[in-house]
């Protein structure tokens, strides 16, 4: 089973329309600085909802939620999506 950040990177790769591969970015690299557009971040959010079977609450529907892979993972954690215990 892949961990949360791996799945986040896979979703960014497929839906983020980024000029660089998210697999090359660090957890705290700014995704917007690396080519993620605001509109693409919405598609990323919807694809994450499908991948993890969750719904982002209205309070998280803002650009800052998708600024970094860490920020996305923290948002998912607030919805109960966490890595399984190793």
């Amino acid at each position: 089973m892949s961990d949360v950040k791996t799945t986040v990177r896979e979703v960014l790769e497929t839906h983020g329309r980024m000029p660089v591969s998210p697999s090359t970015l660090g957890d705290d690299d700014d995704l917007y600085d690396n080519g993620l557009s605001s509109h693409a971040s919405v598609n990323v959010m919807l694809a994450l909802e499908d991948a993890f079977d969750v719904e982002f609450p209205d309070a998280l529907l803002r650009k800052g939620t998708f600024q970094t892979i860490s920020a996305i993972s923290e948002a998912l954690a607030s919805m109960g999506v966490v890595d399984p215990p190793s």
Partner: protein, 132 residues
């Protein structure tokens, strides 16, 4: 009176693709009921109007100065008198605008060649409002 300007472009095909793939799950996260009503239900014709509205929201976000970007739905393009677009801010966006001393916002929308664009001009009072 100080003036701030924000502008943004949005490819229309990206909006059309999102409407096709996600439907209301996509539209209700970004646009208000009024905006969706103004742009119609046909995804093909709605995409250009919604792309222009998304560009307007992003143009406003470039003007607003806050610790966290305001939600997209707190910035509405309202169809005003003579069908002229007007901006209506609510919740966090309205609070940020008030703190910055923004007195008035003007918006111009356009689309063509596959992209939609929006330019927003904000009139700002030299005396900033004090947050309560």
């Amino acid at each position: 009176m100080k003036v701030l300007v924000g502008t943004d472009v949005q490819p229309i095909d990206e909006v059309a693709a999102s409407i096709r793939q996600y439907g209301p799950r996509y539209t209700r996260r970004l646009y208000t009921a009024h905006e969706l009503e103004c742009c119609g239900e046909d995804p093909v014709t709605a995409a250009s109007g919604l792309a222009a509205r998304f560009a307007a929201k992003e143009a406003v976000l470039k003007i607003l100065d806050g610790p966290e970007p305001a939600p997209w739905t707190s910035i509405e393009v309202h169809r005003g008198e003579n069908d002229r677009p007007e901006l209506v801010l609510s919740t966090i966006a309205a609070d940020q605008a008030r703190r910055q001393g923004i007195r008035h916002l003007s918006v111009s929308l356009s689309h063509g060649g596959g992209v939609a664009t929006a330019t927003v001009v904000a009139q700002v009072s030299r005396r900033r409002m004090v947050a309560r």
